[in-house]
């Protein structure tokens, strides 16, 4: 059984790797509520506010030809969307272990590491709808 599950995992992973060969031509079709990735920190003396981690750079004519940062932010945004799709088919604890969530957690880790070099700091990641307070997914506290 364990071997079958492992094999299944490998097949799924390869399918995900090969999906670029199976074009999907639907763009901006579903006007779903925008989801926002937020993170906050806590220290022994302080609890930070939830803050947005992904910021999209402003457009300029140059960005038509050269837009590396904008494209990374777009990739991060699709990672958030992917997480929402995964949320529909799996439970929260499985989601928190997913490759997709771990990448976003790493993003928040880097976000706070750039601010706090040392100290007893922990951070938490959440996913919520734009303009709403209800949190859809919330991770446990992790150390920097």
């Amino acid at each position: 059984m364990e071997i079958a599950l492992k094999l299944f995992g490998i097949v799924v992973s390869w399918f995900q790797n090969l999906r670029v060969f199976l074009p999907r031509w639907s763009f901006f079709d579903f006007a779903a509520p925008e989801l926002v990735l937020k993170s906050r920190y806590r220290s022994p003396t302080d609890l930070g506010e939830w803050e947005q981690v992904i910021h999209h750079p402003q457009r300029s004519v140059r960005s038509l030809f050269f837009n590396p940062l904008g494209n990374v932010q777009l990739r991060l945004h699709t990672l958030v969307e992917q997480l929402v799709l995964e949320l529909e088919v799996s439970n929260e604890s499985a989601l928190l272990q997913s490759e997709c969530f771990r990448a976003l957690e790493r993003l928040c880790l880097m976000h706070f590491r750039s601010r706090f070099q040392t100290g007893d700091i922990q951070f938490q990641v959440s996913l919520l709808e734009e303009g709403k307070e209800d949190i859809l997914v919330r991770s446990n506290w992790s150390s920097l």
Binding site: W25, L64, P68, L69, V72
Partner: protein, 263 residues
């Protein structure tokens, strides 16, 4: 219509599009390595935690370790393909592009990656080592059909949704978008009649795109609007790679239109 010229022009546009992507990728990787201070750029796709690296498949570990070299090899292959186009080179480009995408967990820019792979596969078929021109025809027709499908399916999926019919969708994407939509554009689309009109214009353009093939002047018109359409999408959402990825397919559309008119 000269088949070889269409193929060469398609290849030329494809290489330009690949070089544009490569320059962005190389800049990102060299910036990460130099730890250049960049606001809001955190490369969460680069795994440096020992335990996580250990859990990665060996081939993904190798890609991560040799990513910059892979990018330079890719650029070299692109330049070679301009001067000595061949099946082996286009196949190598396809494999290298697939490996580059693995660095970003499979896809970097969704649709633009799909279209780039479609073009690479088409060129690879066209460059099959044979004297028979059928491979060139099949390769170009494959790219053209995917281009037509890309517009038509995108329109078909939209027209089945209520929010596109009543004009709310465009307003939603522009107003609630996290992609820093320029304020002037946001204010313009906020008016209901405008969002309804523009929404239906998008639907009409996408759904009728297959009709563009019926004559050359019609196709010229559609391609002109397609370029404007992609430029507007770039201005709205910053999707610059889409402009170049779709441009690669336009010469093959003219070839498909030529074939359609001959039937």
């Amino acid at each position: 219509m000269n088949l070889e010229s269409v193929l060469r022009f398609t290849e030329f546009l494809l290489i330009l599009s690949l070089l544009q992507k490569s320059i962005e990728f190389i800049w990102l990787e060299t910036s990460r390595r130099r730890e250049r201070a960049m606001p809001h750029f955190y490369d969460c796709f680069h795994i440096d935690n020992e335990n996580e690296v250990h859990n990665l498949a060996l081939w993904k570990r190798l890609i991560q370790k040799n990513y910059l070299s892979l990018l330079w090899v890719f650029v070299f292959l692109c330049i070679l393909q301009i001067f000595v186009p061949s099946f082996i080179l286009s196949f190598s480009l396809l494999i290298a592009y697939f490996l580059i995408l693995q660095r970003w967990q499979g896809l970097f820019n969704g649709g633009s990656d799909y279209m780039t792979v479609v073009a690479l596969v088409g060129v690879m078929i066209a460059r099959w080592p044979s004297d028979d021109v059928i491979y060139e025809k099949v390769g170009l027709v494959y790219i053209a059909i995917q281009a037509v499908l890309s517009y038509f399916i995108a329109g078909w999926v939209k027209i089945r949704r209520k929010e596109w019919i009543d004009g709310k969708a465009l307003r939603h994407f522009v107003s609630d978008s996290p992609f820093s939509v320029p304020k002037r554009l946001r204010d313009f689309v906020r008016h209901r009649p405008i969002s309804l009109l523009l929404g239906w214009a998008v639907l009409f353009f996408e759904l009728t795109f297959p009709l563009a093939l019926i004559s050359e002047p019609t196709l010229i018109g559609y391609v002109f609007f397609a370029i404007i359409f992609h430029l507007v999408i770039w201005w709205m959402f910053g999707l610059n790679r889409f402009v170049f990825s779709w441009m690669v397919t336009y010469p093959s559309l003219f070839y498909l239109s030529f074939l359609v008119r001959q039937v």
